[in-house]
Symmetry: C3
Subunit: 180 residues, 3 copies
Amino acid sequence: MGLCQTTHVGPEGPTYKDGLYLDKDRTMPHLVILYTGQLDAEMNMTTLCRQMADAMLTVKDEEGKQVFPTGGTRVLAYPAPHYAVADGGAAGQAAGLYDENPHGGSGDYAFVYLNVRMGRGRTEATQQRAGQTLVEVAKAFFAPVMAQRHIGITLQIDVGPEVFDAKHSNLHPLFQKGAV
Amino acid sequence: MGLCQTTHVGPEGPTYKDGLYLDKDRTMPHLVILYTGQLDAEMNMTTLCRQMADAMLTVKDEEGKQVFPTGGTRVLAYPAPHYAVADGGAAGQAAGLYDENPHGGSGDYAFVYLNVRMGRGRTEATQQRAGQTLVEVAKAFFAPVMAQRHIGITLQIDVGPEVFDAKHSNLHPLFQKGAV
Amino acid sequence: MGLCQTTHVGPEGPTYKDGLYLDKDRTMPHLVILYTGQLDAEMNMTTLCRQMADAMLTVKDEEGKQVFPTGGTRVLAYPAPHYAVADGGAAGQAAGLYDENPHGGSGDYAFVYLNVRMGRGRTEATQQRAGQTLVEVAKAFFAPVMAQRHIGITLQIDVGPEVFDAKHSNLHPLFQKGAV
């Protein structure tokens, strides 16, 4: 098994190094989750990370191939210690829908932003399929929370504008069949 | 009042779901603030978040309409526990302008990056007006800090490159007149 | 020495303010490092930040001029408290390459994402030279870690899509020769 591989994708396309190759279209899937920090008291964000990573690994392209390579799939979640959402709580307090919620109540708004960065070269259909797959997992995960507080969830997929891209990893070889 | 709405904006434009609609041009305003963590000892970043959100809500387009929808406006601020700025302090120590500052002194540089992500479809004039409004609030907030330490503040507005955009929220209905 | 300068770069190009000027092509280099939080127990990320900033300052363009202005160079690193990488550990445990590692073992994957945002207007050669310079520093820094655990490192340089850009800083004047 190759212990390490480095791949450099410049404007000229991928470079082969260390005897291994990463297809340009299959590199660089990552998901960064930014959220209002009060949510850490109400849910396990590590669980969400795992569920989202698992969902990413299920996405297939038109030919039935896995879109996101296992060794390149990662999800990172960051609670924001400081935040402000919408009007700060006045409308929520006036509506009084979640006064029974022990975590903040009706005026305590939460927000979760899930941002996927995909490599270039996928079809629009694949991009949409990936998005729909991921958003359904997020909606299911947050359903209990959404039932008891004000929360906004946004998921966006970006195709990155990178002009330089270098990878150095000993993870990919774990998931490449035939790698020696 | 609708308790929840999901909006999906794909390449084909917005999708209507749950009987509610979000105008594509008015979605996705958020502000993420990244900053060197030593600043937490000198100011209240939650206050900055609130001031910036309030400023976002005041921005109007050419027709006098609110640019950023209240229920979609959010500001998240993240102190970096690890950082390096400029030359690391030598030039600041040599200049000795802030030796009296109890928070780090002349060689302790701070940096704040305010990054707004706006939806597509706004006019250049609206983008510039939003930027000027927000940068003035940031400058006023940081004026006392800038008087006693080295600090760099950058505010950028990006128009996002998203290829998939899904929202699921029970915040928007709080701020939509006529929503049932 | 000018204590402070504000520069606004809109679509029309840079604006001169406070008697100082920032070349549009030389503004806005920053590096944000996102990584799986378990790495904080194994390395000093503040050291990496400093090494990367120092490397950024060495990058020259075709004319031998410094590409990244000293006063505008900053590196921020954020450990993610919640994360998921690849298959979650099964393949690593099966391979059993790092069972002796006291920090997590063979099934504990790490990931580091280094994202540089450069200003527009640099040549492709300069972008590639900057990338190669930075990735070599990162690879050297992580070599001891990569020898004892599964880790993926990705470095990307983006050219930002900003439609508004304002800077307010008392750092730049420290590094500008001839500034009064």
